[in-house]
């Protein structure tokens, strides 16, 4: 660590934890309240009673065991998807490709399970699925990294476009080569029981949650306490300075994106082997974009990502209650999600000079 970095690090540490945490909490509470009020107005316009809607959401989402567990199930891929944005962001890269990398992770996992069939033991299939999913996710992000390094193509654009290629690839596979039966909704064969992710005992929450929280800790340590983490943040801060001080910037860019892709691929594997068990047209729908926004809300920090992922998962689970208790379509919950994001994005950050 350089002398300046040590000084900067020390400065951060001298600020008491409380002084750092309180504004963050205040920001969230403020944003949530503004969003809730605006959403109430819209519900009123639609003739629904916001009080009924909110108490319904509270009672059926947070006070019952099953929906609460469902929140933890749904936050798992969001945590990994958001970490997949956070690692490249540290190197100054914008990974908008979580959506495609998660789909590719699901495709990799499903491909591995189809290849091994019913004969292999559960452990072997699980292991193969994890490896293939992470490789597939890394490959998809690697395409964007290669395009950037070889042809100077911006990774925000290429990762975004690759999302749609991945989706079309998924649809191609489930409509023809991997389709289980020619009738009914196109889908792949269900994953064999022995290869499904085990659950935390006494719950319906799969082990992916433990893995995701563990990886959030690992990412935190790697980004803040290792040489590699320091190097990519230097490359992300000022590529020219990094080059002059002898860092291999292309390798750093490539590695940050590959790791991001692998994390998103793992999210796809967990969604496949822990939640959906088969690939359908809607596999992983919007997980990548939601993760991207969760990462933004968390300012690209691993531990706040856990909170943001929980909030988004809770919103998603509460959409059922919105439909049942308030009688408005489930997808309306996106309004509340978006309002929270807009409140946080627009009205809590210091005003910066245009762009960014």
């Amino acid at each position: 660590m350089s002398a300046e970095a040590k000084v900067a690090d020390a400065e951060v540490r001298t600020v008491p934890v409380v002084a750092r945490v309180v504004p963050v909490i205040a920001r969230w509470v403020g944003a949530l309240s503004v969003a809730l009020v605006l959403f109430s107005v819209l519900l009123l316009l639609k003739g629904a009673n916001p009080i009924t809607a909110y108490t319904g959401i509270w009672e059926t989402t947070f006070l019952r065991s099953r929906p609460l567990q469902e929140i933890f199930v749904q936050m798992t891929p969001l945590v990994l998807g958001a970490l997949a944005v956070a690692v490249p962001a540290r190197a100054g890269l914008t990974n908008v490709g979580g959506e495609g990398q998660i789909i590719m992770g699901g495709v990799g996992a499903c491909g591995a399970s189809l290849f091994l069939g019913d004969t292999a033991s559960g452990g072997v299939i699980l292991g193969a699925m994890i490896v293939c999913a992470m490789l597939a996710g890394a490959l998809w992000a690697g395409l964007a990294a290669a395009m950037r390094l070889v042809a100077g193509v911006n990774e925000a654009i290429s990762t975004l476009l690759l999302n749609f290629v991945a989706l079309d690839l998924l649809l191609f596979l489930i409509y023809q080569p991997w389709r289980e039966s020619p009738t009914g909704q196109p889908a792949t064969k269900e994953l064999v029981d022995v290869a499904k992710l085990p659950v935390i005992s006494g719950t319906q929450v799969n082990m992916g949650l433990v893995l995701a929280i563990g990886l959030a800790v690992v990412v935190f340590v790697v980004l803040t306490r290792t040489k590699w983490g320091f190097k990519i943040s230097v490359a992300g801060g000022n590529a020219e300075a990094a080059r002059r001080s002898g860092l291999n910037v292309p390798v750093l860019i490539l590695s940050a994106l590959l790791i991001g892709g692998a994390l998103a691929g793992l999210a796809g594997m967990i969604q496949f082997a822990g939640v959906e068990y088969k690939l359908r047209a809607s596999f992983g729908y919007q997980l990548g974009y939601t993760s991207f926004l969760a990462c933004w809300l968390a300012r690209h920090q691993p531990f706040p990502i856990l909170v943001a992922a929980f909030v988004f998962a809770a919103l998603s689970v509460s959409s059922d209650s919105l439909q049942l208790d308030a009688g408005v379509p489930a997808a309306s919950i996106h309004v509340l999600t978006a309002l929270i994001l807009i409140a946080v994005l627009g009205f809590t950050a210091q005003r910066k000079k245009a762009t960014a």
Binding site: L171, A331, T355
Partner: protein
């Protein structure tokens, strides 16, 4: 009709909504702002035009409403990124979610409702031409309006003072400030204009192309438009050609299936994205040099890492 005519005609009518949105996004990006919320502007434009069309019975009033809705959403994006310094990607995606939610909330009552959409206007004489007639001149009036859109936007962007100011906001914002103009106003104006056009694209989709409203009906066309602008390297004319080209790629599948060819639609659906990626890779650094300078800064400015 021959397969050839079928595909071309389908490409022109299916490509029109993408072309409107693509031309709008070109204006926005020329001023230095990328708007991933284009998909959202198209969605609110589609529902706005459809709902107002149903209520008033007049599709033209519907288009105005769709344009206004699309513009309003883009205005919010402009405000957030220009005045509040929000991330362009995060803001655009947030507004996409907002549009998905709003159109779901307010669109449910319009699912399955009949609308007085746009009729086909066969242009006298021209519509009788072989090939060109059915491909270009047997469509709805909103599509014909698209024919004059590109020359108009090109003229405004490249031959008028206001166009110069917009482009300067995207190329050398500082020199605009030096001359006493507001960069922020130019950018917000350009983004809003882009949203208006995306809203009209959505209106074409709902009230002329599909004649129906259903949830999430834009189905990625807004993102095709974003890809298209890069494919066309920020030229309105190439946006026009690219929109019809992408439209043809999408129309090819159904046309072949109607003739009992076994074809997997999804490989064709990927064509716009794969072509854009290919163009980016082949042109490489040359695409970057064609992009508005301030847009490059958007990409190079890393998100906060600490």
């Amino acid at each position: 009709m021959s397969l050839f005519v079928d595909v071309l005609s389908g490409g022109v009518s299916g490509g029109t909504s993408i072309m409107y949105a693509g031309v709008g996004e070109t204006v926005s990006e020329r001023a230095g702002v990328i708007n991933l919320g284009t998909e959202g502007s198209m969605l609110v434009g589609a529902l706005g035009s459809y709902a107002v069309g149903v209520e008033t019975g007049n599709p033209w009033v519907g288009v105005l409403a769709g344009a206004a809705a699309g513009g309003a959403l883009a205005l919010l994006h402009g405000y957030l990124v220009v005045r509040r310094g929000a991330s362009q990607f995060a803001s655009g995606l947030s507004l996409l979610f907002l549009a998905l939610g709003l159109t779901s909330l307010f669109g449910a009552t319009y699912v399955g409702q009949p609308v007085v959409g746009f009729d086909t206007w066969e242009i006298p004489l021209l519509s009788d031409l072989p090939v060109l007639g059915p491909v270009l001149f047997q469509h709805d009036p909103l599509l014909y309006l698209g024919y004059v859109l590109v020359p108009t936007v090109w003229f405004v962007l490249f031959k008028t003072r206001i166009g110069l100011l917009v482009r300067t906001a995207g190329e050398r914002a500082d020199s605009l400030t030096v001359h006493g103009y507001s960069v922020d106003a130019m950018r917000i104006g350009a983004v809003t204009a882009g949203g208006v056009l995306a809203g009209m694209g959505g209106a074409h989709l709902a009230t002329a192309y599909a004649n129906a409203w259903f949830e999430n009906m834009v189905a990625g066309r807004g993102f095709i438009a974003v890809a298209l602008v890069i494919f066309a390297t920020w030229s309105p004319w190439r946006v026009l050609g690219g929109a019809y080209l992408f439209g043809c790629a999408i129309a090819l599948g159904p046309a072949l299936q109607a003739r009992a060819f076994e074809i997997n639609q999804f490989l064709l659906d990927a064509v716009p994205f794969v072509l854009t990626l290919a163009v980016l890779t082949v042109l490489g650094k040359r695409t970057l040099s064609a992009s508005p300078a301030e847009l490059k800064r958007v990409f190079e400015n890393a998100p906060p890492s600490g």
